[in-house]
């Protein structure tokens, strides 16, 4: 195998080591990774074992809350002309049910599972950015709870979870209900992206040595693809919510046809996120199924490479199906045909996975304990939902079933079979690892059968009510239309499902009681590293992985790992450390010092949430104060990064020494910054699509751009920004006196030039007479310029930050990471701004 880093893989043969471990090594490790000791430390904790449990718990809380809303809806629909809920309240409840399930339960739940399980699965001590993970969690929890509470004051959004304009425009939704959705969800998606960055870098850079891609656990593969999909898909919803909020708050007409806007733009942007979202939810659940079924059947997964390929293919094809939600909108026939073809094709990789699971069960001896039951039950339900999915991929059938209860049945079969049942399987399977106590098997069987029967009794009749013509999203219906009985049956099933969830909540509360034995161990005989003996430090020593199923095939591994006979068995200098490895071959690269808990990320999350929530109620001054405090907290959090190390290298075991610091593309920070910039680029790309799309709707409304002479100054300044950003890393590496100052000076110059260029370009357009509220051209031009300008403003903050670091002596030639990352950001800012300026100036040319 070709080495990626020059590391000699022969050194792996030195492990497990045989010499006795030093006295007190384990105690030092436990001390370095000690858990919270005061109530405050439970809040400032960053360890994935704690944040992961919080995260899963919060997601399940939202599942229960959204489930209660579902029961309220089903009570209302149990009988025709029922008066249980008023129409307005029903609209808020069905909107909140969909929104909470999709945004506050489904995505966070699988992300939470990743945060909880991945470090142990990969043999890492923690994820590489534990404070970012904790920030993402607190932002999600605070934002989510505040968003949900809008229901209690009658301010919850009521335009459906898809929030289509013009229904959600100020004309038809004049209150602030829709603003809660737009700002709340946009903010929560930022939290999801932060989690995705953590997961991508964690999977690619913190694997146990030897864990090459063919030995990467299938769940980690699924989480990697899931996180990459979030990075590509979620910018679309962030942009969509920004544009609609700009239209509602400032009158920028992106979706108003009277001024050249088009409501279909919302549908394109929403579903470019919304349909991949289904697979974003499904893939980690499928990864869990591909882990649980082999463990329960005690045999390797049949067709492992094909399953990996199927997951990759699902990730790609899912981005080619968004418009199948728009078959009835009058799109060109040929485009409809492309999307219909892709919608049928996406069922093939899902089918490959289902066949692999069936073959694995056939090849082994499946144990139908609770995780096995949930896995098989989920598969059955998912296949039924998949089949109706192929039906609605056929355009003529979709025209008939569109917006009927048939679609409600289909989507619940897919989502509950594809995500909820696998999630319950995962909880039953992995809970002994997390809480060191299994859930009750007897209760588990009752819960499974109640849930399985409840699901089918609820949603099976909805196929019929849909085919009999009952539309979605109605709060009541007339009697004598044949819908009475199936609706009553559906309501009965929903309460059965609710009873199952209630029993599960009681069993979970019993499980987490603070007394009684906690020694479950590997109760399912699982083959992955997550079943190694562990503590807050994850594994005692990081093993060398030689198999896809290490606990099955590497005999004695658990004992040797627990005895500290593998890598990084201690906590040198009392630091929290983990090993960073290369992305393909997982060769050791350096030792990462993991930050200890602090309160700054929690305050940062509180004030960030405060900024968005206060903005919703239009208290702008208070929102600005909260925003400034958020920026301050985040800068304080970053202030302690990139600090000096006492030693240059650490002995990771068997006399192998690894550096404590690297910079550039090998460092985990560089990877995270690149992913952040991909998110920014996606938003910009989709904004550019919106610009061209709006032009194509009403080219007659578009005016000529400003004179070409005004183009030179902003372009020139952006080129200066780019050149300074490229030069700064070289300057800091010259390692001479003043090189750090030179780099800081270049970065300050770059950021000032970027801000100046943004102002000049906006002034040129303003002088040309174009106004953002006047037409779709004005709205889209100023939106693109605002996006580029926001990057310039953040670049300005970074310039200030680097200057302060230089003044306080926290910038040094031997630690160039800060300069590298800010340079990368500013170079991207320049490239993005040049692209934006050229697009709005040169397309569509001189106007019509």
């Amino acid at each position: 195998m070709t080495s990626e880093t020059g590391f000699d893989a022969g050194k792996y043969d030195r492990f497990p080591t045989s010499e006795p471990r030093p006295q007190g090594e384990l105690e030092q490790l436990e001390k370095a990774w000690c858990g919270p000791r005061t109530p405050g430390e439970w809040i400032t904790a960053t360890n994935n074992n704690i944040i992961g449990v919080y995260y899963v718990g919060a997601a399940m809380l939202f599942f229960v809350l959204a489930g209660v809303l579902a029961l309220l809806m089903r009570t209302q629909l149990a009988l025709p002309m029922n008066g249980f809920l008023p129409q307005d309240t029903y609209n808020q409840i069905f909107t909140m049910h969909g929104t909470v399930m999709m945004f506050l339960f489904a995505v966070p739940a699988v992300e939470a599972l990743g945060v909880l399980l991945l470090p142990q699965m990969l043999g890492a001590r923690d994820l590489p950015f534990p404070r970012l993970g904790a920030y993402a969690f607190w932002a999600y929890l605070i934002g989510g709870l505040a968003f949900f509470c809008s229901l209690f004051v009658g301010l919850a959004p009521d335009g459906g979870w898809f929030m289509y304009p013009p229904l959600t425009s100020t004309t038809y939704s004049p209150g602030i209900n829709a603003d809660f959705w737009l700002l709340g969800i946009g903010f929560i998606e930022i939290s999801a992206i932060a989690g995705a960055i953590e997961i991508i870098v964690g999977v690619l850079k913190t694997r146990a040595p030897g864990m090459t891609l063919d030995k990467l656990p299938i769940f980690a593969w699924a989480m990697l693809i899931f996180a990459c999909m979030i990075i590509i898909a979620f910018p679309s919803i962030i942009l969509a919510t920004l544009l609609l909020e700009l239209e509602r708050a400032l009158g920028w007409p992106f979706f108003d046809p009277l001024k050249g806007g088009d409501p279909l733009l919302w549908q394109h942007l929403f579903w470019f996120f919304g349909h991949p979202e289904v697979y974003i939810i499904f893939l980690p659940a499928a990864g869990a199924m591909s882990t649980i079924i082999p463990a329960m059947a005690r045999t390797p997964l049949v067709g492992h490479p094909l399953v990996v390929m199927a997951m990759l293919a699902t990730g790609f094809i899912s981005f080619g199906v968004w418009a199948h939600h728009m078959f009835t909108t009058g799109m060109p026939q040929i485009s409809i045909n492309y999307f219909s073809a892709a919608s049928m094709a996406v069922s093939v990789p899902a089918g490959v996975q289902v066949f692999a699971w069936i073959a694995t069960m056939a090849a082994g001896r499946m144990r139908f304990s609770t995780p096995g039951l949930f896995a098989v039950g989920g598969m059955v339900i998912f296949v039924m939902g998949g089949l109706t999915g192929v039906m609605v991929a056929m355009v003529p059938f979709d025209w008939q079933a569109h917006d009927s209860y048939f679609i409600v049945a289909h989507l619940h079969y897919v989502l509950i079979g594809g995500m909820v049942f696998p999630l319950f399987a995962a909880i039953y399977y992995w809970l002994p690892m997390s809480s060191a106590r299994p859930l009750s098997e007897r209760w588990g069987r009752w819960i499974f059968w109640l849930m399985f029967a409840g699901h089918n009794i609820t949603f099976m009749p909805m196929h019929l009510t849909g085919l009999m013509g009952m539309p979605r999203r109605v709060y009541t219906y007339l009697p004598e239309r044949g819908w009475d009985l199936p609706n009553l049956v559906s309501t009965t099933g929903a309460f059965m499902f609710g009873l199952a969830v209630l029993l599960w909540v009681i069993d979970m509360a019993r499980n987490y009681r603070p007394f009684g034995p906690r020694e479950a161990g590997d109760v399912h005989g699982g083959p992955g590293l997550e079943w190694l003996p562990s503590g807050f430090y994850s594994v005692r020593s990081i093993p060398v992985v030689k198999s896809l199923y290490p606990l099955w095939e590497q005999k004695g591994l658990a004992q040797e790992v627990a005895a500290g006979r593998y890598l990084l068995p201690g906590a040198a200098r009392g630091e929290r450390q983990t090993l960073v490895t290369s992305p393909l071959n997982a060769e050791p690269q350096y030792v990462l010092r993991i930050p200890r808990p602090s309160a700054w990320h929690v305050f940062g999350a509180v004030f960030t949430a405060g900024f968005f929530l206060i903005l919703t109620i239009q208290a702008y001054a208070a929102a600005v104060v909260s925003g400034v405090l958020a920026v301050y907290c985040i800068m304080r959090w970053c202030w302690f990064l990139d600090a000096p190390h006492a030693r240059k290298t650490t002995d990771i075991g068997a006399a192998i020494r690894m550096p404590n610091y690297v910079s550039g593309p090998s460092s985990h920070g560089w990877w995270a910054m690149v992913i952040v910039l991909i998110v920014g680029a996606m938003v910009c790309l989709l904004a550019a699509f919106s610009y061209v799309f709006l032009w194509s709707r009403r080219p007659d409304l578009w005016q000529a751009p400003p004179a070409v002479s005004s183009l030179l100054a902003p372009l020139g300044l952006m080129v200066v920004t780019g050149l300074c950003a490229v030069a700064a890393p070289r300057a800091v590496r010259m390692a001479r006196d003043g090189s750090a100052s030179a780099a800081a000076g270049l970065l300050v110059l770059a950021s000032v030039a970027a801000i100046a260029a943004s102002i000049l370009e906006a002034r040129a357009w303003w002088a040309s007479g174009l106004r953002p509220e006047a037409s779709s051209q004005g709205a889209s031009v100023y939106a693109l310029l605002s996006w580029a300008g926001t990057f310039a403003a953040i670049g300005g903050l970074m310039g200030l930050y680097v200057l302060l670091r230089r003044l306080f002596g926290r910038l040094a030639a031997e630690r160039p990471s800060t300069v590298d990352l800010i340079s990368l950001f500013l170079a991207f800012t320049a490239a993005q701004a040049i692209g934006v300026i050229l697009l709005v100036r040169l397309f569509p040319g001189g106007g019509t």
Partner: protein, 99 residues
């Protein structure tokens, strides 16, 4: 990047093809009609280009099959399967242009 290209190259070509034919038909719809012969021929030519790219990728992967072992061989198998999927996918997505 070489090893990532081997693994995901086929699927990337599929994605480029999907976006390409969709954009060609959308652009044609703005200027004249997405159903016109011109747009269909451009779409078919683009599809042929993508199919040739898939074949080239498969040949490259096939030549490298004897090289490497373990993880790299596994990555090659993933890439070859991806190229096969992409080939079928490109043909499937081209069908609306033909019929």
């Amino acid at each position: 990047m070489r090893r990532w290209s081997r693994m995901a190259g086929g699927l990337l070509i599929w994605a480029v093809h999907f976006m390409g034919v969709y954009l060609i038909s959308s652009a044609a719809d703005v200027w004249s009609s997405s159903e016109g012969a011109g747009a269909r021929w451009i779409g078919l030519a683009f599809s042929l280009g993508c199919l040739l790219a898939v074949i080239a990728l498969a040949v490259w992967l096939g030549r490298g099959r004897s090289e490497g072992s373990g993880a790299e061989a596994w990555e090659g198998r993933i890439g070859m399967t991806g190229a096969l999927v992409a080939g079928i996918g490109v043909l499937w997505q081209t069908a609306p242009l033909v019929f």
